[in-house]
Symmetry: C2
Subunit: 177 residues, 2 copies
């Protein structure tokens, strides 16, 4: 079981533009059958976790009436009330270590997906709980926006692939021994 | 003849860390014979251009006594006096368009390499003069530092390769028609 931060980003490391838009991302081509696709990745995921901004973005982008896109339980870190929606969604506060124990019990042999944002992934890394970073680089520079991973974090390259418009890179997180 | 911004960067889009260090980069393995290597790239370069910070970094990192590492003429944008060193180094001011004309005359059929920094590459893009971006991602997140390309710039993916520790990606710049 691995804890994986899987995300799309601009060439220059932003996961959302300054207007919190993903229009620069959603216009790209991606191949579900090609290497390192989301569809391949999600099959091994048994639990997911996201920050409040990511959750709000999903709500606003897809609409509160849209079906929740995930089949596995989702933990949402939030310090303030977020609009609920149907689905196995668990609003939590506190440390990532505590929440991780809950998630791991549910995920079992499957992986945990840190959906975002970057700081939440950083908190998992700070706690020594992040195992992998999967980055899908979209062909655009944004120049500003929400950062991919606002930490200094040593990685090791596992895999590089092209998937349609995306350069896909998979890293292991080098843990301090 | 193409104008190419070729640079190494962190996974999150920084070309130098907040202390202007490249220690996070120079410790990595790279294979001169593997795809998208610097050694392959430089063979087609007929002129290069860099900003004052990049020049100063080279001076400080390699030492003023070290031989200048480039065989082809180098233009350095600078608004203040920089220490000269042996080599075909031309200190210039003014617009990138003007300097580009000088460089193109010298480079002839060969390419122009925009060495850095990110804003100089952005100025070439602003002027419609940047053709390609080659990014070598080192396996580390820095979280802060000098930005890869502080612009909103549409790209198209040309090539993806692994070279030892690096994920190497080559982009075309999509020009407004």
């Amino acid at each position: 079981m691995a804890i994986q931060y899987f995300t799309a980003t601009s060439v220059d490391g932003f996961i959302a533009d300054p207007e919190h838009s993903l229009s620069w991302l959603l216009s790209r081509n991606v191949d579900a059958e090609a290497p390192m696709s989301y569809q391949g990745f999600i099959q091994s995921v048994g639990a997911l976790v996201m920050g409040a901004s990511t959750y709000r973005w999903l709500l606003e982008h897809e609409g509160a009436e849209a079906p929740w896109p995930y089949d596995v339980p989702c933990w949402v870190f939030s310090h303030h009330g977020l609009q609920a929606r149907p689905g196995d969604i668990r609003f939590v506060q506190g440390s990532v270590a505590t929440v991780h124990r809950e998630m791991a019990a549910v995920a079992g042999e499957r992986n945990i997906w840190v959906v975002g944002g970057g700081d939440l992934a950083g908190q998992f890394a700070d706690a020594g709980l992040l195992d992998e970073v999967w980055v899908q680089y979209a062909p655009v520079a944004l120049g500003a926006g929400a950062p991919l991973l606002p930490r200094r974090l040593e990685l090791s390259l596992i895999e590089v692939a092209r998937n349609a418009d995306f350069a896909c890179v998979r890293y292991g997180v080098v843990k301090e021994s």
